[in-house]
Amino acid sequence: MSAAAEERNARAPWALTAPALMLFVGVLLIPLAMTVMLSFHDWGQYKGIEPVFILKNWKEIATDPYYAEMFWRTFRIAILTTLLTALLGAPEAYILNRMSGRWKSFFLLVILGPLLISVVARTLGWALLFGGNNGLVNKLLMSAGVIRFPIPFMFTETGMVVALAHVMMPFMVLSVWAALQRLDPQIENAAMSLGAGPITIIRRIIMPQIMPGVLSGAIIVFSLSASAFATPAIIGGRRLKVAATLAYDEFLNTLNWPLGAAVATLLLVALVLIVVGSNALIERRYAEVFR
């Protein structure tokens, strides 16, 4: 059979993807469907999980203010983390892009490398740096005169945002970096020759062009921060709960699986809606750039 005849063979692509498709249906789609179903089951301290169809868990989440507060905290942390990575990551990507070859690849390795280093190890690093009220970060900030009194970082949302921003930063830099690669450096020179100053160039030439990169980075950072587990669990401790750590508690400590499944389902649905919605918005707004 010639390669050309192979191209015409309509069954070949399905034969090649069938094993992976069966794997995904069997061990991804079915478990996800089971989780959604689980969220409608009943649970009791002594009777365990009862496979009936009730809205008890969903009602509890909708009416108990504890859950509203927890979800609001989760999204607040995710939004602040996203803002922090955008404000610092975008300029850094721009600076990086202007460096010469060897330095550029070296610093790119330094900044993107942490992405592959264990999140537990990176968060442990922050726990050490925060370390109570006389941690290294506070000592440094106080001796630099930035703050007068130590800021509590451990077991606070501030600490979670800082550590999460560090964990997520490579995604933002990478995303803005990708947008910068599409940018024609001659445009900057053209603007300069027409008399534009550095601030005008950044505001009128660079910003509009890297905005799609910042926004797609923001979507990645937001969805990963909202569902983060390791960093909130280690920095936040046992009391300051976010969606992921609460679901973990329900499953492995309280053993109320149906309620945990409802929290997880809600998190998944909320994130999918936010991500798909903002993707559509961005693509409509920046249709030109994505073409």
């Binding site: 993807t17 689980l38 442990l124 900057e188």
Partner: protein, 268 residues
Amino acid sequence: MRRNGPLALIFHTIFVIVMVAPILVVCLVAFTPEGFLSLPTNGFSLRWFRAIGNYPEFIHAFWVSLGLGALSSFVALLFAVPAALAIARYRFRGRDALAALFLSPLMIPHVVLGIAFLRFFTSAGLGGSFAALIIAHVIIVFPFALRLTLAAATGMDRTVEMAAVSLGAGGWTLFRRVTLPLILPGVISGWALAFIQSFDDLTMTVFLAAPGTETLPVRMFLYIQDNIDPLVTSVSACVIAITMTALILLDRFYGLDRVLAGKGDTGR
């Protein structure tokens, strides 16, 4: 292009220091000679690295992680290579939907995956088993294995294959002697990236691991939950060293920016 001004360079320096600081501080504290958490101000000591030997849980967890990462990445490639070849070469109905499905584990929060797998494998009577961990990890590393294989398959020169076919090669021989060697750099990088992802995963694995099948991140996490002492920093330093080695190899071999950016994604 204009050069960076002094302000930009100051910003850059602080940025890089902050990015490196937490990783560096873990590695430094690991060498402390004291019995408590502190920077090694009076000399370096390997006592906390030797102390790892007294905790067989960490050693065992390390082997579990190593085996799990190697095996699940390999199995993921067995499924991903044919799928990548199909997606790269054929235009067929449902191609975009399939690609989206195969990349979906990137979009689904790992906490949700952990819960789904826990529910599924417990009902299947495989709760806490190594087999369950392997299957779950195959799913989460699959997108990484697929993306890099796909990039290699899309960029491949097909005239070589046609030449082989004209010389009488077909089917398995064609794949084994021509196609596979040509996409091998992508496949190996895909394996390495998949391995790192599996080796580092905590959020999903923490739901599935039972005593005996705890991976290293899970063991470290549970240890930190109780208390933070220099022992866990020396374990972390070892993990960082292993990842850095893999990272540098990956960068030399394939280019880190290409690996992370996932160039040539679904061929859009």
